[in-house]
Amino acid sequence: MADAVDVGLEIVKLTRLLGCRADELGYLERIDSQDLRDLREQVTGVLFDADRHMLGRVAAASKLIPSKLAATIGESVFGPLLCARVTGILDPHRAVDIAERLPTGFLADVTEHLDPRRASRVIGELPPARVAEIADELAARELYITMGSMVGHLSKAATVAALDVVDDETLLRTAAVVESKGSLGSLVALLPEERLETIIRTASDAELWPEALEVMGHVSERQRGELAEIAAGQDDEVLEGLVRSAQHDGLWGVLLPVTRAMSPASRERFVNLPSIQTRTVLAAIVDAAAQESLWADLLAFLPLLPAPARRRVAALATALRPMFPQVVVAAHEEQLWPSLVAFAAELDEATQRRIAELIAASDDEVLAGLLAAVEESALERESLTVLARLAAAKQRSLAKRIAGLASADGIEALAEAARAAELDGITEALIPGRRPGKTTAAKAGP
């Protein structure tokens, strides 16, 4: 999610902690979310430490009275904020025993002020039924941030109980603001596929795609694939809504990796949606890939675009020349050479020359990877279209290296394609002695 959203969340949490209004902290909007998070944790510690001595004595005194009386005093005298401060230092069993005697509304009030990390053991021991009641109350109050802060601290049974009582919209809004992002995978793992389907439909109906994408951005690759498949299985209208949301909310940086997690058939359907084909949307996708180095995701996306859209991306790619070294690295590391070679063949001459120079300057391992992919995908013609942009001497030099790295079949296929394209220098360098234009019995090039 965009940092501005996280900054807003942190400011809300700070206002709650400090008992002040959001407009009193407006200047914090200039600080990044991680610094605000560090500040909030520092402030939490300061507020706790300020009365640590007395809070400890209150916790000790509470052991001397029956739980029922402790609950009465907590509710009627101490109030939710002080109870929240004491909770973290109470014995967890004792705290749960007291909580069992308090009304749900009051426990929801306490939860609003609780520091989950300090009270993690207490939260983890709360009975599932009680947690469900509190979750229901917090959902009714639309306190998504409070609910989100509890995720990762509740027991599995309690989490399941809470999931059962909150509706899909609440769940999406909560999951998007979960404090412990690493817990989102475990949370999603607790949801049956039917529930995930209704959640995706809710994301569409209630225009909560940003929230859904926030979740998809923080789960495992396998889960992202499952969620992406569910999303891809929806009607075109739903997917068009997803594209609109990514465009409107600047979420291509999140959505692009999600499309890569789709099955090839689903990705192809998504990539061919009419709304994707516009120059504005394609520019936003390329921009997101450039800003967040999502080259592998972009390379997986490009070959599936219809030809006119690919040409639009090719026109946009000219501006990305300084970033091509990263694109070449991504193509090699993610084994996406076929996508890059096919795409490069559609670029303008100067851009092709830049890519050819990068390939010529790459080490043997990278070049061998490219050659294996070219042979496997029969992309000899396309690869030569790009390499032919090099100066003649560089072409010959590269062809000699290729002759030492490619398989015998690969060399034959490239030589045949070079001969057909009348790239005599390359033909001669690949197979010395073979005269340009001579017909061979080798496998025909494309």
Partner: protein, 70 residues
């Protein structure tokens, strides 16, 4: 004391690096809000402790008072 020093005194240590973007008035304002929150919490805690003594059974009051105030 400098605004930076005032804020660090309230935080009990160095502020996160990003807060260097705040000007002196903003640092003092945040330090003030934090100081108010601490004072309010201490006041409320003290009042709650006093009031709670009136709620516990007379028989336990002495023991509880001893635990609370030493």
């Amino acid at each position: 004391m400098s605004a930076r020093g005032t804020l660090e005194a309230e935080l009990g240590g160095q502020a996160p690096d990003g807060l260097a973007a705040l000007d002196a008035a903003e640092r003092r304002a945040f330090a003030g809000i934090l100081r108010d929150a601490k004072e309010r919490q201490s006041r409320e805690l003290e009042a709650a402790v006093e009031e709670s003594l009136g709620v516990v059974p007379r028989l336990l009051r002495g023991t509880i008072r001893k635990v609370l105030f030493g």
